[in-house]
Chain length 405, copies 2
C-alpha cells in the first residue's frame, strides 16, 4: 500500500465522459490498496468563459472578486469527480482549497502557499476514502478565496504530497512526459525516464510547457519526487527528482525553444555610470521580466543595450523606457518579435567543457546566426531568428546525440 | 440613511445584462446614502444544468457533494454582481455563505440556519461597502458547504436582515407583490399594500408561489418586516408584517388555488379503532405530506377515508398504503388528480362569522360542487373539480369584493 497524490488537469476532466474515465483510473489504483489524494483542475475552457463574463461587467475586475469567481471552476470538478467515484462504488469526499486547509498569503490571483493543515485530509485517507482536492486555490487569513496563479494545480498537488508525506506524486497531463525536445518539432525526440529538478527548472524557464517553474522549485525544496505522465494511456512518464550519480555521464538532457520572447534594443544610450541601472530599475518597477541581457559600448561615448522580455510585456517595456531615456537625454528603443530562444540543458554540463563550442559549431554549420548568448551552470541559451528556430532545435538535438539512449 | 437587505432572485441575475440592471438599481439606493446587504440567487437554470451533470455520473448523488456542486451557482453571481458594482463605481465586496458567517446544521440539501456571525458583514457596511452575499448556502461545523433547500435565498435575506438589524428587507422577484388572487386567472385581482405574516403563511401553503412558508415563519419569529416587489420596475410591492389593527376590518384578504394536489380515497376500510391511525402512520413513515382529511363511516362496518397529498407524492402514497391495507384485511385505494384546492384567507375571519356560508353560497350559485372542506382560524379551503378551479377563484374573489379597496 502506498499513499499517492495524483493531479488531473483541465483536459482530463473536460467533460462528464472524461471525468468517468478518470474515476475508473482512480478506482484501479484504489483497488490495489493505495491511499489516494486526487487534485483536479477546472475543466478546460471554464476559466476563459468566466473571465469573459467578468470583463463585460467591469473593465478591470477586482482581483479578490476574480478569485471568488474562478474558484468555482475547480469546485465543480471536485464535486463531479467525487460523484463519479461514488458511481463506480468508491468512497470519496471532495474538498475545496479552504476545506483542505491550504492557507495562502493575501495576494489575490497569484497567492503563495503559507501552510497546509492536512489533518482533515489524512483523517479521511485513514478512513479509507479517496480525497478529491480543488487545485489552484486556497484561503487567506480573512477567509477570502485565493488562487495560486498559472500552474497552480500542479503546485497544490506537490504541496499536498509534501504535507501528507506521500510516497508518490503523479502529475497527469496530455503529454507522455518530458522529452529531449518538442516531439512535434524534432521527430526523433525521446521521452526521458528521469530528469533532475534543476534540469526541469531550466527546461521550464526555457519554454518547455510541461510545468511551471514554481511547482518544480517547491518540489525541489521539499524533496517531493514526482512523475509527469499522460492521463490518456498507461505509459510510464518522466520521474523528476534530485540529481543522481549516473546522470553525470549525460552532458545534455534536452533542447527547448521559446518563441514568446521579444528582443528590445536600446541604442545610443549615453555611456555614463548608472545608465544601465536606471534602465533596468524602470523595467523592474513596471514589473517587466527581463531575461537575457547584452551590453556593448559603441563609438562616440554611447552604448547599446540589448535584452529579451516576454512578448506580452513589450508594450509595458516601451512605456517604462520612454520617460527614462528622455530624462537621460538620449537613446532609442526598437523591439523585434521575430526571434526565438534555443536552450540546451543538462546537469552534466557542469563537469564537461566544450558544450558551448559543440552548439555554436553545429549552428554555424547549418548557417544559423546567433544574435545573443547567455549561460547558466547547466544551460546555454542562444537567440536565433524565429523562422529558423525549429531547424536550430533539430540541429542541436542531433549534435548532442539526444536521439540515442 | 437606512440599513437595507435586498434579495434578487435567479431571473433578476439571469445574465450579464440583467446583472448590470441590478447593479444600477443598487447604485441608486446606495446614492441615497443607504447601507446595503444584497443577497443573490444562482442564475436561473444553472441548478438544473448542474443536477443533470451529476445524474450522468451517479444515479443517486451524495447530498454532501450535491451541496458542494450547487453552491457554485451563487458563488458565480455574487462575484459578477460585485464586479458589476465596481463597473459603475460602487465599492462592493462578495461573500459566500461561509464567509458571511451563516452557520447551519449538518443536514445537506435542506440545512437549517443555526447562527449568523454578522460581524464581518457589519464591518464592511460601516466601511461604506455594499456587501453581496450568496443566498441559499451556509457552512456546517465541519466546514462543509450546506444548502438551505427551496426558497433558501429568501431565507438568507430574512435571516441576515434579523442579524444585522436591518431597517428594511426587500425581496425582489418577477411579480409586483402579493395579489388578492392570481392576476392571470382573476382579471380584477388587486395587489395588496400590506399583509400579515399569518395570511402570507396561509397563502403560501395554499398554492400561492410568491414565497416558501419557512421564510415567512422565520420573519414572523424574528419580527422582520419585509417587502415583496418586482426587480423589473419601480412599483411599490407588498409589505409583510405582524397583524395591525385596521386589518381586522377586512374579512378576506386573498384567494389562492393549488392544482398540484391529488385526492386519495381509501374505501371499504374495516371500521375498527386504530384503522385511520395505521393508515396515516404508514403515510408519515413514507414521508408523504397529507393535507386535507375527511372520514365517513359507510354501511356494513366499513369506513371511507379521503385525503389530499401533493401529486408528486401519489406513487409513494399508493406504495405505502398497499401493505397496510393487506395487513388490515380490507380497503381499496383510488387516486384522483383532476382536483384543485381553493382557499380564502384573512385574519379578519377570526372575528367575523359567515365567511364559510358566503363562500359555499357563491360556489353553489355558480353550480360548482364542493368535494371536501377544511378550515383553519384564518382560512377556508375547499376541493373542487380542477377544470372549474379558475372559475371558482373568480366567483370567490367577487363574493368577498376583493376587487374593491
Amino acid at each position: 500500500m502506498a499513499r499517492i497524490v495524483q493531479k488531473y488537469g483541465g483536459t482530463s476532466v473536460g467533460d462528464v465522459e472524461r471525468i468517468k474515465k478518470v474515476a475508473e483510473r482512480i478506482k484501479a489504483f484504489r483497488d490495489q490498496g493505495n491511499q489516494l489524494v486526487i487534485v483536479v483542475s477546472a475543466r478546460a475552457g471554464v476559466t476563459n468563459e468566466l473571465i469573459a463574463k467578468a470583463k463585460l461587467l467591469c473593465a478591470q475586475p477586482s482581483e479578490r472578486e476574480m478569485d471568488q469567481l474562478l474558484a468555482i471552476g475547480e469546485q465543480e470538478t471536485i464535486a463531479l469527480t467525487a460523484m463519479a467515484l461514488h458511481g463506480v462504488g468508491v468512497d470519496a469526499v471532495s474538498y475545496t482549497g479552504a476545506q483542505a486547509g491550504i492557507f495562502t498569503d493575501a495576494v489575490h490571483t497569484k497567492a503563495k502557499i503559507k501552510m497546509i493543515n492536512a489533518a482533515p485530509v489524512e483523517k479521511d485517507l485513514d478512513a479509507g476514502r479517496v480525497v478529491i482536492v480543488a487545485g489552484f486555490q486556497g484561503i487567506n487569513d480573512d477567509g477570502g478565496v485565493t488562487t495560486l496563479g498559472r500552474g497552480g494545480s500542479d503546485l497544490t498537488a506537490i504541496a499536498l504530497a509534501a504535507a501528507v508525506k506521500a510516497d508518490k506524486c503523479e502529475i497527469y497531463t496530455d503529454v507522455d512526459g518530458v522529452y529531449t525536445a518538442d516531439p512535434r518539432v524534432v521527430k526523433d525526440a525521446r521521452k526521458l525516464d528521469e530528469i533532475s529538478y534543476d534540469e526541469m527548472l531550466e527546461l521550464a524557464s526555457s519554454g518547455s510547457k510541461v510545468m511551471q517553474s514554481r511547482s518544480v522549485e517547491f518540489a525541489k525544496k521539499y524533496g517531493v519526487i514526482f512523475e509527469v505522465r499522460s492521463s490518456f494511456n498507461q505509459n510510464p512518464g518522466t520521474i523528476v527528482k534530485e540529481e543522481v550519480a549516473y546522470m553525470e555521464k549525460v552532458v545534455v538532457r534536452g533542447v527547448a525553444v521559446d518563441k514568446d520572447q521579444a528582443k528590445v534594443i536600446v541604442s545610443n544610450l549615453p555611456d555614463k555610470p548608472g545608465s544601465a541601472a536606471r534602465v533596468f530599475r524602470a523595467l523592474a518597477d513596471a514589473n517587466v521580466m527581463v531575461d537575457m541581457i547584452v551590453q556593448n559600448v559603441g563609438r562616440g561615448g554611447v552604448a547599446n543595450l540589448t535584452f529579451t522580455v516576454p512578448q506580452t510585456d513589450q508594450v509595458k517595456a516601451q512605456r517604462a523606457l520612454e520617460p527614462v531615456l528622455a530624462a537621460m537625454g538620449g537613446g532609442q528603443v526598437a523591439i523585434h518579435e521575430q526571434i526565438a530562444k534555443l536552450s540546451v540543458v543538462g546537469v552534466g554540463m557542469k563537469t564537461h567543457s566544450g558544450v558551448a563550442a559543440t552548439l555554436f559549431q553545429a549552428l554555424a554549420a547549418a548557417n544559423i546566426n546567433i544574435e545573443m548568448i547567455s549561460t547558466s551552470e547547466i544551460k546555454i541559451s542562444v537567440i536565433v531568428e524565429q523562422e529558423r528556430a525549429d531547424e536550430a532545435a533539430r540541429v542541436a538535438h542531433a549534435a548532442f546525440h539526444l536521439d540515442q539512449l
